[in-house]
Structure formats: structure tokens, C-alpha cells
């Protein structure tokens, strides 16, 4: 009797963890951007990125608060927010898209998979299509998602004054690094 109860409990516990989670999320994802220009390199990190991945459909969304980017130098942070990205006017950046090759990723099995991501990126009030190849790693019930891609500031109407054009790159590198937990 005791044995059956134990077996039942074990199978119940195992069973409940085996039910596949569909949605994964984070509220503390990281997005880092780097601008490499002839005069100086500028880097900033945002540690409060919200991301949701629906593993069934492959739908993927990110939300980033512009004021959350931290720079090494205060002046850069102020220029970034006040002059270039006008964060008071456009406080949020968003990505809405999908993992195009979602069918090739087995979310139930630990492993590293290539992820082709395609969607619409909104920064500074401008929405543009973006496409990149990222990586999805399934590990111990979590999903580690990362990607690197470049965006042209001109595409998002970010104007850089002539005076500092050698300080800021025309194409900035965006690095995404998120650990997603199952949404219960």
C-alpha cells in the first residue's frame, strides 16, 4: 500500500514537471549596445529587459525602457537620453517578432539550437524590420537566448551632430542576453 502511494506520488511529481511549459519569460534580461568609432568606444547596458517567448508558436517579444541604459560616463548617458534617443518622448523600445525556424528547436530537450529571428523593431518612434541569427539554449528547464546584430542609427532617425560624428558609430552593435524562466 505504502509502495503504491509512493509510486503514485513520484509519478505525479514527475508528470507535473514533464507537462511542457509553453511560455517562457524574463524581466531582467540584458541588452548591451556598443558603438565603435574612430575617436572612442561607447558602451551601455540595460539589465531590466522584459522578454516573452511562446515556444509553441515561436512568437518572441522584447520591451526595453530607454532610460534604463547605464553608461560608464554620465555625460554620455545624458546625451543619449536627451539629445539622440529623446527618451522622454520615446521611453520604450520594442521588438515584436518570431523564431522563424521554431519547428527545428526541441524545447523539451537540453541542447543548443540556432534560432533565426525576424520581426519589427521600434526605437525612437520608428519601426523597422530586423532579422538576425541568434542562439537558443535549453538547459535545466530554462531557456538561454542570445543574439548579436547591428542597427543603423539613421534608420531610426537618430541624428548625430557633425561635431561628434567621429565619436559615434553609424552602425551600433546590439547584444541580447536573456535567461527565460517558464511562466507558471
Amino acid at each position: 500500500m505504502k509502495k503504491t502511494l509512493l509510486l503514485l506520488t513520484i509519478s505525479f511529481v514527475l508528470g507535473s514537471t514533464l507537462i511542457a511549459q509553453e511560455k517562457y519569460f524574463t524581466k531582467s534580461g540584458k541588452i548591451n549596445f556598443t558603438s565603435k568609432a574612430s575617436l572612442e568606444n561607447i558602451e551601455a547596458l540595460n539589465k531590466s529587459v522584459t522578454a516573452v517567448l511562446d515556444t509553441k508558436s515561436g512568437n518572441l517579444q522584447f520591451a526595453v525602457l530607454m532610460k534604463g541604459f547605464e553608461f560608464e560616463k554620465a555625460l554620455m548617458q545624458e546625451h543619449f537620453n536627451e539629445n539622440y534617443l529623446e527618451s522622454h518622448k520615446y521611453p520604450k523600445a520594442e521588438f515584436k517578432g518570431a523564431v522563424v525556424n521554431n519547428g527545428e528547436i526541441n524545447y523539451a530537450k537540453d541542447g543548443t539550437y540556432k534560432a533565426n529571428v525576424k520581426g519589427q523593431l521600434t526605437i525612437h518612434g520608428q519601426t523597422k524590420p530586423v532579422e538576425t541569427e541568434g542562439k537558443i539554449q535549453v538547459k535545466n528547464g530554462k531557456i538561454l537566448a542570445d543574439a548579436v546584430f547591428g542597427i543603423a542609427l539613421a534608420d531610426y532617425n537618430v541624428e548625430i551632430p557633425k561635431l561628434v560624428k567621429d565619436n559615434i558609430a553609424k552602425i551600433v552593435n546590439i547584444e541580447v542576453d536573456c535567461t527565460l524562466d517558464p511562466l507558471k
Binding site: 511560455k23 524581466k27 531590466s48 560616463k73 537620453n81 527618451s87 520604450k92
Partner: protein, 146 residues
């Protein structure tokens, strides 16, 4: 002749001062919030309510402001690179104030227990409205206030 010398000295001093100012301004660091007093004080639920009511109006009022919030500690989150986030608010509500902690000031975080009533000070970066995950007001570079 003497006049010329004085003028030259003034110009040199001005250049020196200008150079020093430009240099220190260029290298100025973002302020450590433990040394800055809060612009406004709120209960977590009050701050969340303001953003939920009118996000644009609340953004205009509070973006970049140093806000001290007092409320119940709902969760302590630590990521793989030792970044801490404290989640404050009403335990029965999905909405919260999320405080991304300043890494220079995390020793106080390590002794905290969920359920405690604490006050955290941070720079407001905005609001993420989310039906699925629960909405959050985000504070950055946070420190715990005694």
C-alpha cells in the same frame, strides 16, 4: 606692459579652468544614489497606481527622478552575474515596483527576507504594462534606505 601680463595671466587661468572643467565633465560618473536624497517618497502601491492610471502623465512627472518607495518585499531575484532585483508591492497584486540594485550596494540585500517592509531608493526608468506577466514600475541603480 604690466597690464598685458595681467591679461595674459587671466587668459591662461581661464584656459586652465576651462580645460579642467571639460575634463572633469567628460569623466563625470553617474551619481551614486546612496549619496543623493530622494526627490519623492511613495508607498509602492501608490506609485504603481499612478502609472496604471496614466502612463504618459506619470512618465512626465517621474522619469529620471530619484524615488524612494516603501512596501512589502515580494521577491528577491539574483541572476547568474550577481545582479539583484528586488520586487516590492502588494502581495495579492500582479503589479509591482521592480528595483534593479546598484551592484556597489548589494551587501545589504543579502540579509533580506521576503515579506519584510523595506524602503528602496532608485532612479525611475518607466513602466512596463503587461497583462500576462504583471505590470511593473522600474527603478534603476537602487540602494536600500535605512
Amino acid at each position: 606692459m604690466k597690464k598685458k601680463k595681467i591679461i595674459l595671466m587671466i587668459i591662461a587661468a581661464a584656459l586652465l579652468f576651462g580645460g579642467w572643467y571639460a575634463y572633469s565633465e567628460y569623466n563625470r560618473k553617474v551619481k551614486d544614489l546612496s549619496k543623493v536624497s530622494a526627490d519623492v517618497h511613495f508607498k509602492t502601491v501608490e506609485l504603481v497606481a499612478q502609472f496604471e492610471k496614466d502612463e504618459n502623465a506619470a512618465n512626465a512627472l517621474y522619469l529620471d527622478k530619484v524615488i524612494a518607495v516603501n512596501g512589502t518585499l515580494k521577491a528577491i531575484e539574483k541572476d547568474d552575474t550577481n545582479n539583484y532585483s528586488l520586487v516590492l508591492g502588494d502581495e495579492n497584486s500582479m503589479a509591482s515596483v521592480r528595483c534593479s540594485m546598484d551592484q556597489e550596494h548589494i551587501t545589504k540585500v543579502e540579509g533580506l527576507m521576503t515579506g519584510a517592509n523595506i524602503t528602496v531608493k532608485g532612479a525611475c526608468t518607466g513602466f512596463n504594462a503587461d497583462q500576462l506577466l504583471g505590470s511593473d514600475v522600474i527603478l534603476n541603480r537602487c540602494v536600500i534606505q535605512d
